[in-house]
Symmetry: C2
Subunit: 479 residues, 2 copies
């Protein structure tokens, strides 16, 4: 039962690995130090040779140590030696007509090419997804679902899938009922429907800065105005700034990505989430929460959501399976609190309902515990990849580069020297078939023009190393 391996208390090899990791972080072991041999490690800890090997494999996979042929294991990396964090840009507290449309259209034209070393798209690599098991669930759905998935599904979505999503909410302490969930075509549609449910053309909404460009586009497309809220690269939205903004503008909705923010990677501490929800509740403003990365945590526990602290039905929770399981299935959802009827209505108006087959497939997959098991592996893989990518950035980028420390998800936010125009960097990189997302598209103000977002969704390999090396070269040329 491979399943057991990851459940319950940590295994012996993990305890030993964690001990070593702490010694590296405390600088008891320094970069370049030789580690004890496997035999010595096993004797010292009273563990088998096999377990000792496992501990070293684990640290090696994380990129903390390296094995040198015929020599043994050496310390390679120390979390403490991280470059500085990108800084918070104070938002300018102006209401903007949104206009990132053209910029993004030009970006999408060439990044889908298979030849490109793609740091731009935030998708997990397909090699990290349980394709075979998804197939099995699809075949089961085809055979055993009512109408064989030919007929219309309810506008609100497949009842069994909604039950499974309600169960997923347990992970963050949610007590969601299946009939509080509305299935959508991915998280972005969920956010759009929630915005439509609570705003009118010309209204103003508050978003974190920087913010995922898809959210700006949804806002622009609905004819809404936007005010940006300063955000800390570790703790997220600045509540004092939000309070001031609410006093100054007739804010009709707030949008935030509380956990493992795209692009900055911040995670709002649970206490701040509580305060954020108290603030919007005081002013009776709906909060649209994009929790698409919430399950992809690297730490021990899943962070809570804003929805957890919601007492008045004002938090509209949105998420999907697109970043963790089946990007192409377009299965997302909203838990829109007291606005559920409005959300169902705009869903029906837009496309009646989501596809029956993909919903039934995901219902079966989740029902059989396959998602939890998959997530455990995916989190480990992404954690390892994050460290590998960060290391490569440290190795190849100029030393004044500032790098985020994501504790989940799969994007890095990198602030470069002020002289670097990352829109130009992107153009130069594309000549070498390397794609990145320039920081400028994550704001409606002319901020972040020296920042980039780097996705680490693909396993680190020599192509990726080459890509980062080449980016480093281009950046150095531009300074």
């Amino acid at each position: 039962m491979q399943h057991e391996k990851f459940s319950g208390t940590d295994h012996l090899y993990m305890q030993v690995a964690q001990g070593l990791e702490k010694m590296i972080s405390d600088e008891v072991l320094l970069i370049g130090d030789k580690l004890p041999s496997v035999r010595v490690l096993s004797e010292e800890n009273g563990i088998s040779m096999g377990t000792a090997f496992q501990a070293y494999y684990h640290l090696e996979a994380k990129g903390l140590i390296e094995s040198r042929p015929k020599s043994g294991y050496y310390v390679r990396f120390n979390h403490r030696k991280y470059p500085a964090l990108p800084k918070m840009v104070p938002a300018d507290a102006l209401s903007h007509e949104v206009s990132v449309k053209e910029m993004i259209a030009s970006l999408y034209s060439d990044i889908a090419s298979a030849k490109v070393i793609n740091f731009a798209l935030a998708v997990p690599d397909l090699s990290l997804l349980p394709v075979g098991k998804i197939q099995k669930s699809a075949v089961h759905a085809l055979k055993h679902t009512k109408d064989h998935c030919i007929g219309y599904e309810h506008t609100q979505g497949n009842p069994e899938l909604r039950k499974q999503i309600a169960r997923l909410c347990f992970n963050w302490g949610g007590k969601t009922k299946p009939d509080e969930v509305v299935i959508t075509n991915g998280c972005l549609e969920a956010i759009t429907l929630c915005l439509q449910a609570v705003t009118q053309h010309g209204d103003t909404v508050a978003v974190e800065s920087p913010c995922y460009f898809g959210i700006y586009q949804a806002i622009e497309n609905l004819g809404l105005k936007v005010v940006e809220i300063s955000s800390d690269p570790v703790t997220g939205a600045d509540l004092a700034c939000l309070e001031k903004t609410i006093a100054r503008f007739p804010i009709k909705a707030c949008v935030c990505i509380p956990n493992f923010n795209n692009p900055v990677g911040s995670c709002i501490p649970d206490e701040n989430k509580k305060q954020l929800v108290a603030l919007i509740t005081k002013h009776n403003i709906p909060l649209i929460e994009d929790d698409i990365y919430g399950e992809l945590y690297f730490g021990k526990n899943r962070p809570r959501t804003c929805k957890y602290y919601d007492t008045k039905g004002l938090v509209m929770h949105c998420s999907s399976l697109s970043k963790s399981l089946t990007p192409g299935y377009r299965v997302g959802w909203a838990i829109p609190g007291k606005f559920i009827d409005e959300v169902k209505q705009v869903k029906r108006i837009h496309n009646i309902s989501s596809a029956s087959l993909t919903q039934a497939t995901m219902a079966h997959f989740l029902q059989h515990g396959r998602y939890e098991y998959h997530l455990k592996n995916l989190r480990k893989a992404l954690h390892t990849q994050s460290l590998r990518y960060i290391q490569a950035v440290i190795d190849h980028f100029p030393p004044d580069s500032k790098v985020s420390r994501p504790q989940g998800g799969f994007v890095l936010w990198i602030e470069l020297n002020r002289k670097v125009d990352t829109f130009r960097l992107r153009t130069e990189a594309m000549k070498h078939h390397i794609s990145i997302m320039p920081g400028r598209i994550f704001s409606v103000s002319p901020n972040y023009s020296n920042c980039i977002r780097l996705s680490f969704g693909k396993p680190f390999n020599s192509d990726m190393e080459y890509g980062i090396m080449m980016l480093g070269k281009l950046i150095k040329k531009m300074v």
Copy 2:
């Protein structure tokens, strides 16, 4: 090869049946007349007994004749004895803020129940759909598509599916290229995206009256205004009325259902389509054409589309497989002419792309000629059902009821005595577990309050007969 049976020239039995049908229609044979015995028919026409039987079966299935036990076949029905057609209501040529939302929300709450005799939903019955073959295509798609349909599909849609849709366009003479097609989540999403592509909040669009309520809702949801164009129950939109409207209002788009209109069943003659396209081209106004019922013709040939006459890329053709193959797959498309980039953009903003799996399944199904074969059977079944339903209406509704003569699709439009409020009729009918669509929701003006739309998508059986009989009783009570 059952496939052959329907292709090429008509079979012998059809020729004989058509001869008899003409005699009924010319009143050479009157209702109640006894038909020649099978033996006589076979001798007279020099055909086998089997072929003679087939001819009678065909006419019986169409409801034109009936077999009486131990007696033979009798004429039962004459197309000429149809009740009068519903009349054209002159549109009031006012610009309206749309507001049918609440009315429709209340309608949807109870009609999905399985216990209801459902004349309200315009969907083909699942027994008419080739479930097994669709399953096979789905399994093929799961096994053989790149990424096994887990990864994101292009925003524009699956390339093979777009190729197949371009081929479908041959049926109406279209010379569409695959890269002119954008895949959507059903036809309604296609219409919404087209509207978004060519209008701004507050703009005015022209629609036929009456008009499918889903289109009104899409228009309302985008904050657009609407002007209604009078439509003839046989030939569709009144071009003189449209021309006047264009002169009076700043019309930014027209929306029409040219073929087998929902709800009135009209089919714009090809010559009128040509004139309609010339008119909108003269004024440089985009025409959004909803051709969702176009393939479901009862006659010999598929009617053309407005797109066929489009020379400037102003016609935005929309359709889907939801009414003819897989309602729950949500596979539709737009062929938006010169606005394709705008449509792709709003599609991406709303939900990135449609599901990979359902698209790949439909691509495979269409690629293997399965759709053409299925359509031939579906058209015959729907034609027969239309006659059966009309007969039942004639049998049970008051004689002053006026009934449309749909030549395709699967909805009947019935105009009742002026005294009948069909919203009230609907409430009464629901008490007997019978659902209908009241005419009032097909207009923003207070028109059609004595009309109903009756879907004949389900095979006619004793439940349906009972439902129509009961409706007739309720109507008679209300007069």
